[in-house]
């Protein structure tokens, strides 16, 4: 409700209000509200089946919402057919038409708008230059590499100068190296032409590097919206913390003075601590004094080489945690995991009969 009120008071360029989408009895999006400013790139981040692609498809007009509104530039587009929305979508499979060459693919949207042949040719040439595909116009799209196809799909989307660019995991079919390269190119291009874009991804690194803001979606609801730094460092729920890499989760005791102890280590409130494997350190000598840091004693159960060091699974009385360390330590060695206080994210403990995460402010 607060988000909806804010959107009404100060409408964004793309404004989604209380959008609900259901497939039969299954509610895929549940009263989702989101605002995207002009020229902003927002990432919809979530795991498979969370509803992020459905939200994108609802914006494009391929999914009919049960209720709610979608506005672009103040115009209600909720019930417009896809062809009347002036949005351009880039698909996961690129969806380039194999019976057309590169130039025809890029020019298709212009043809639908009645452009002259000369104007279309000039626009296609501009797009090819922008995407570093000069000379590729007459080539069949079936002869292009994955990265080239992705560029052509982007050119086809951008050629019509859309109100909104919608990207549905467009890099998930690419090699890691090509993906890294194109990620930066796409971000630079989006900023250069100041296009408003919505980017769907399940890859947090992609969301962090590409977007101005991230909206994290879980089970059909937006659970947190914010700048990448905010989402990464100040997740408001255990779900977001886990999704952003703080996937070590363990119950601990918080004393009145704020210091943390392993569960059962003394009087205090039970809280759920989340931390990242690479923000903790492994101590195999004498037990360090805890001070403000969280110290968890245990035994090394598993060691995995990860290139720049090792990743260890340490069994503690409260559960297993993972930690990174530069040196090899044999399995079975007693060890302590030391987590700096500022690296610990605290949330209320999960109710024992529920796996759901509640959106709450971290205690620290």
């Amino acid at each position: 409700m607060i988000a909806t009120d804010r959107l009404k008071a100060n409408p964004s360029y793309l404004s989604i209000e209380a959008l609900t989408v259901a497939y039969g009895a299954t509610r895929v999006l549940d009263r989702v509200s989101l605002g995207v400013e002009r020229g902003e790139m927002i990432a919809l981040l979530g795991s498979s089946g969370c509803g992020k692609t459905t939200l994108l498809r609802a914006i494009a007009g391929f999914v009919r919402p049960e209720s709610g509104t979608i506005r672009v530039g103040g115009k209600d587009i909720t019930h417009l057919p896809p062809e009347a929305r002036e949005t351009a979508m880039m698909f996961q499979s690129y969806a380039l038409w194999p019976h057309m060459n590169v130039a025809d693919n890029i020019a298709y949207g212009l043809r639908m708008r009645g452009w002259t042949k000369a104007a279309m040719a000039a626009r296609v040439a501009d797009m090819l230059k922008l995407l570093q595909l000069d000379g590729f116009g007459p080539r069949p799209v079936t002869q292009l590499s994955g990265g080239q196809r992705q560029r052509v799909a982007l050119g086809r989307a951008l050629a019509i100068d859309p109100h909104l660019l919608l990207l549905d995991e467009p890099m998930s079919n690419l090699d890691y190296k090509v993906r890294l390269e194109l990620r930066h190119e796409l971000r630079a291009l989006q900023q250069r032409i100041s296009i408003t874009a919505v980017y769907v991804t399940h890859d947090r690194e992609e969301a962090l590097t590409l977007s101005d803001r991230i909206a994290v979606i879980d089970a059909g609801r937006i659970v947190q919206v914010g700048a990448p730094e905010e989402i990464f460092h100040r997740p408001t729920s255990a779900f977001v913390a886990g999704f952003m890499g703080a996937d070590n989760a363990i119950d601990v005791t918080q004393r009145d003075d704020g210091t943390l102890l392993a569960a059962g280590g003394g009087p205090g409130a039970r809280v759920r601590a989340h931390f990242r494997s690479d923000s903790a350190r492994l101590e195999t000598g004498s037990t360090p004094s805890s001070g403000p840091d969280l110290v968890l004693s245990g035994t090394i159960e598993q060691a995995v080489y990860i290139g720049q060091g090792y990743r260890y699974r340490v069994r503690t009385p409260g559960g297993d945690v993972w930690v990174h360390a530069p040196d090899r330590v044999p399995e079975g060695t007693p060890a302590c995991v030391v987590v700096p206080r500022q690296a610990v994210l605290l949330f209320p403990p999960e109710p024992p009969d529920s796996a759901t995460t509640s959106a709450m402010r971290p205690a620290a």
């Binding site: 057919p81 009347a84 351009a88 979508m89 639908m112 019509i160």
Partner: protein, 280 residues
């Protein structure tokens, strides 16, 4: 080593032998015999007399046959594209389900039954005219029988359009749905999506369906015999007439060979497309 390489070859021939025998005995041999008879005079020598007679008597019917079958093929193509296009791009799920259920019915009805259905439907006092008169669209005096070339075309289209639709709708359904969505997203209405995006990607299947229908319609006897047996009529009626009335197998075989040449035209289209697909 030699034993190892030759054994599978023999096995392959042995496996193919029954099929080859059936094709040879029941198709190739009768066809060859038919061709031989068409070129043989009473003394057993070579002659073109039967072809000359066939052209003298039946040139109009040959052209009539070609025109009927070509027109039917075009109409079948248009109808199949429209139905398969709606099945693929239609947005009313109930209408799509109803059409999907309805369009296949003629597939299960034999040509002879289709011919009989059309006789009762298209006759001067048939159901079509009853409906048109009943709804006030035509006067009773202006009712006319459609049991001529129009009746044959209607029967052929009615019978064959579902077959081509079946092939075409299957090919369209196998297209990636994102290809269609990408076009709509760029501003294409559904008719444009059908013509620009869907149809070019399934035109091979459409061509195959139309060629097979073309050849099938060339060989149908029951429909022209029941709807329009009088001249000009289709070559199949003439062949039956030459055999049943005059026992004139020579001219009948000449007419069959000419029909075969028409069918070969369709096969040429088909093979040319198959070859171009293989190259690309």
């Amino acid at each position: 080593m030699n034993g190892q390489t030759s054994a599978p070859r023999w096995h392959g021939l042995a496996l193919a032998a029954p099929a080859l025998t059936v094709v040879g005995v029941f198709f190739i041999a009768p066809l060859a015999m038919s061709a031989v008879v068409a070129f043989r005079d009473k003394a057993g020598g070579f002659t073109l007399e039967h072809f000359s007679k066939a052209f003298d008597l039946y040139t109009t019917d040959l052209l009539f046959t070609l025109a009927i079958v070509l027109l039917s093929t075009v109409l079948i193509g248009v109808l199949a594209i429209a139905i398969a296009g709606y099945l693929t791009l239609g947005e009313n799920p109930r209408a799509v389900a109803l059409l999907r259920w309805l369009y296949r019915w003629p597939l299960f009805i034999p040509f002879v039954v289709a011919g009989q259905v059309m006789r009762t439907f298209l006759a001067k006092n048939g159901m079509l005219n009853h409906v048109l008169i009943g709804t006030g669209l035509i006067e009773p005096l202006s009712a006319q029988s459609l049991l001529d070339w129009r009746g044959i075309v209607v029967a052929f289209v009615w019978k064959q359009a579902p077959f081509v639709t079946l092939l075409l709708a299957g090919a369209m359904a196998s297209l990636e749905s994102q290809h269609i969505e990408a076009a709509r997203n760029l501003g294409a209405r559904r008719v444009r999506v059908l013509l620009d995006i869907v149809l070019p990607q399934v035109r091979g299947t459409l061509l195959v369906g139309l060629v097979l229908s073309f050849v099938t319609m060339l060989s149908v006897l029951s429909v022209p015999l029941m709807i329009n047996p009088n001249s000009p009529t289709m070559v199949t009626v003439d062949v039956a007439y030459r055999i049943n009335t005059f026992a004139d197998y020579a001219v009948a075989n000449a007419l069959c060979l000419l029909s075969l040449l028409l069918a070969a035209g369709g096969a040429w289209f088909y093979l040319r497309h198959a070859a171009s697909k293989a190259v690309t």
